[in-house]
């Protein structure tokens, strides 16, 4: 069961990361990047590293996406 969850999260992370790379609109790419963070949270948690999962949830999915969004706001023309 654990192996199934790990496999599922693994492939979900890879697919979402590919989608983030080929995404044309930058805000969508940032939201997909948050999805990558969420998938890794599941991976870390299932692989018995809850401390790392908590850090990844707060930093990887939260604060870093916020910093990307703030940087995106500085762009003059809409993307």
């Amino acid at each position: 069961m654990t192996g199934l969850i790990i496999l599922f999260a693994f492939f979900a992370v890879i697919i979402v990361a590919f989608a983030a790379v080929i995404q044309k609109r930058l805000p969508d790419a940032i939201i997909l990047f948050m999805g990558v963070g969420l998938g890794t949270v599941v991976l870390f948690f299932v692989m018995q590293a809850p401390d790392v999962a908590m850090t990844e949830a707060v930093i990887g999915a939260g604060i870093s996406s916020l910093i990307f969004l703030m940087a995106l706001k500085h762009f003059k023309e809409p993307v």
């Binding site: 192996g3 496999l7 693994f10 890879i14 590919f18 080929i22 044309k24 018995q48 590293a49 809850p50 401390d51 999962a53 908590m54 850090t55 707060v58 930093i59 939260g62 604060i63 916020l66 910093i67 703030m70 706001k73 500085h74």
Partner: protein, 235 residues
């Protein structure tokens, strides 16, 4: 959706190669698991019992690698300093718009709960997953909620700098007292009996260190978030 027009064959071959790599790694991972290793931290857990800290990761991060935490705090401080130097002059936005009703009310409802959870993660760092760094960033995200819901809210600068200075000084002081008493930076000079493992007041100086680290990280991240948010409003 027609991707073919925009994406070159190089991208496709890159995808295929990385998929192949991933499949190979998965194959190796799933087949060659040694039978005798159930969990990576078994030896660590045996070592951990000497310190009387229930959470093994905490005893590694704070106790065996406490000096690295000092470096991490210094790095975060320098990052906050740089962002403050570049982005701190924000002017009042003349045509700012009010946040929506739902955001205002929901942030008032959620802010105390987020703060409580951050303090819980910080204080219980030696018993359960979490710790000073995570708790501090959770508190900073609560401050972020206040910042985006109320346009006129500003983090009080004097309070933040006082908290940050106090936390930084007391971290170094705790480490130096450990150096004096136990001949080791961040030596555990407070009583830490193994029989009390799992209690809230256990683990010697580790809860103290985590509270100090949490206060420092929380105040620095709040300042970073405020500088980024306010700056992006007036452009």
């Amino acid at each position: 959706m027609n991707f073919k027009r925009d994406i070159s064959t190089r991208t496709y071959s890159g995808f295929a190669l990385s998929a192949l790599l991933v499949l190979t790694i998965l194959n190796v991972m799933l087949q060659n698991i040694p039978a005798h290793i159930e969990r990576a931290g078994d030896q660590l857990l045996a070592l951990n019992a000497q310190e009387g800290v229930a959470n093994a990761v905490t005893s590694v991060v704070v106790y065996f690698r406490g000096f690295d935490t000092l470096g991490e705090i210094a790095v975060l401080f320098i990052a906050a300093l740089g962002i403050g130097l570049m982005l701190s002059e924000h002017t009042k936005d003349p045509h700012h718009e009010e946040s929506s009703f739902i955001l205002q009310k929901a942030s008032k409802l959620l802010f105390p709960i987020i703060m409580l959870f951050g303090v819980y993660v910080m204080i219980y760092g030696h018993l359960s997953p979490g710790g000073g760094f995570q708790g501090g960033v959770i508190i900073a995200s609560g401050v972020l909620l206040l910042l985006i819901s109320d346009q006129n809210f500003e983090v009080p600068h004097a309070v933040i700098s006082a908290l940050e200075t106090f936390a930084g000084i007391s971290y170094v002081l705790i480490g130096l007292i450990g150096l004096l008493v136990m001949d080791k930076f961040l030596g555990n000079f407070l009583p830490h009996d193994v029989s009390e493992m799992g209690m809230l007041l256990s683990g010697g100086i580790i809860p103290l260190v985590y509270i100090v680290v949490g206060v420092k990280v929380g105040s620095e991240m709040s300042l970073i978030v405020q500088n980024l948010l306010k700056r992006s409003e007036d452009v």
